[in-house]
Subunit: 222 residues, 2 copies
């Protein structure tokens, strides 16, 4: 059976930077499920029209098509019950919802403020630029050119937002404790997006957060 993940790419088709796609790549690794990726750009709407919507990740698992990272994670958990659980027991799964809300409502906007211009000017495929400018400028109510002058302030705000993560990783190896789970995948996705797209390094080589990111990848042999 073929398993295919449509995965956001930049100008370089091997540059894969979507936080939501990273969640699913780690979730598939966690469940030890082999897959291939298809490089996809924001404007390749036709290529995923079969999924009934226009965003990635889209997983094609044999005959089944699932879009939306949370739905994909839930699909994998239900359909591959003999593999390691993504969420753990019901209380862990519930606590993971808080971490997801924090990642999406606090961490993602803080990362975006830093890297939006880097994505636009340095990472995107030319054909995606008009779409990206239009959607992001509408969402943020400001021009892409107006982010860069506030970069230092945005980096400081991102660092402040990371405080609870730093405290947690000072106490234990992973957000979920001794081994990574979907809570780690969610936060890793956000910071992988940050780390890959930022033109200036966001973390020192010996930063606790990079150590944890390497450990998450290592846990899956990546």
């Amino acid at each position: 059976m073929k398993r295919i993940l449509y995965d956001l790419a930049g100008e370089d088709e091997n540059f894969r930077f979507s936080p939501y796609c990273w969640r699913i790549k780690l979730a598939l690794a966690h469940k030890n499920l082999p897959y291939e990726t298809v490089a996809w750009r924001f404007t390749d709407k036709d290529a995923i029209a079969f999924s009934g919507q226009g965003k990635v990740p889209v997983l094609v698992d044999g005959e089944t098509v699932v879009a939306d990272s949370q739905k994909i994670a839930e699909y994998l958990e239900v359909n591959y019950p003999n593999e390691a659980s993504l969420f753990g027991d019901p209380p862990s799964r519930a606590l993971t919802q808080f971490i997801r809300a924090w990642a999406e409502q606090v961490l993602h906007p803080a990362v975006a403020r830093v890297v939006l211009p880097d994505i636009f000017f340095h990472r995107l495929h030319e054909k995606d630029k008009a779409y990206f400018r239009d959607t992001r400028e509408r969402a943020w109510g400001m021009r892409i050119e107006d982010f860069a002058p506030k970069r230092a302030e945005a980096v400081a705000a991102l660092e402040a937002a990371l405080a609870p993560l730093r405290t947690t990783l000072g106490l234990q190896n992973f957000i979920a404790g001794a081994a990574p789970s979907y809570a780690d995948h969610i936060v890793f996705g956000a910071l992988q997006w940050a780390r890959l797209t930022s033109v200036q390094p966001l973390f020192a080589a010996d930063d606790l957060i990079l150590d944890w990111m390497h450990a998450v990848l290592s846990a899956y042999g990546l």
Copy 2:
């Protein structure tokens, strides 16, 4: 065996407003352990000198004395293993550390900015005022009188900080899912402190957050 909790009180000795003491009152209820409280004020250092430090909560459990809310929770978990677990399995316990870090590093400062003047001018015992002013003004680098003019801004920042909690409680009854656990106790403590000390109501009567707080108390018959 007698079980006594030293519990921070205001001018009214029945006004109990410490977020850390609330954690432990809920943890004791969760483990179905009866206890009595002793009203304690910030300057009653001599009354708890036997604990080797100067802050509450202090739990006296028969012959054992434990100070610091996290140490008390861990003590209860280890010493009353036949009662309901506070933390759940190891992954839940690890995820709860993130929620604790978020509560202490994001939520507590956001609450403090709103309620510090209310605590000082309306809640504290007269004998605690000099101590409170001195410690808080040093910690915040500003005079207590300078908080009130920024109240509206502080209330808005608190509301923004609550976004991940609101999202989570929109998905499930408790932070830990179907029933409260120590993750709920931690966040409840912060918001009980906020709710009790604020002179102006912080939440509308039909607010999701108040519903959840009532549900936490109800779960323990409180």
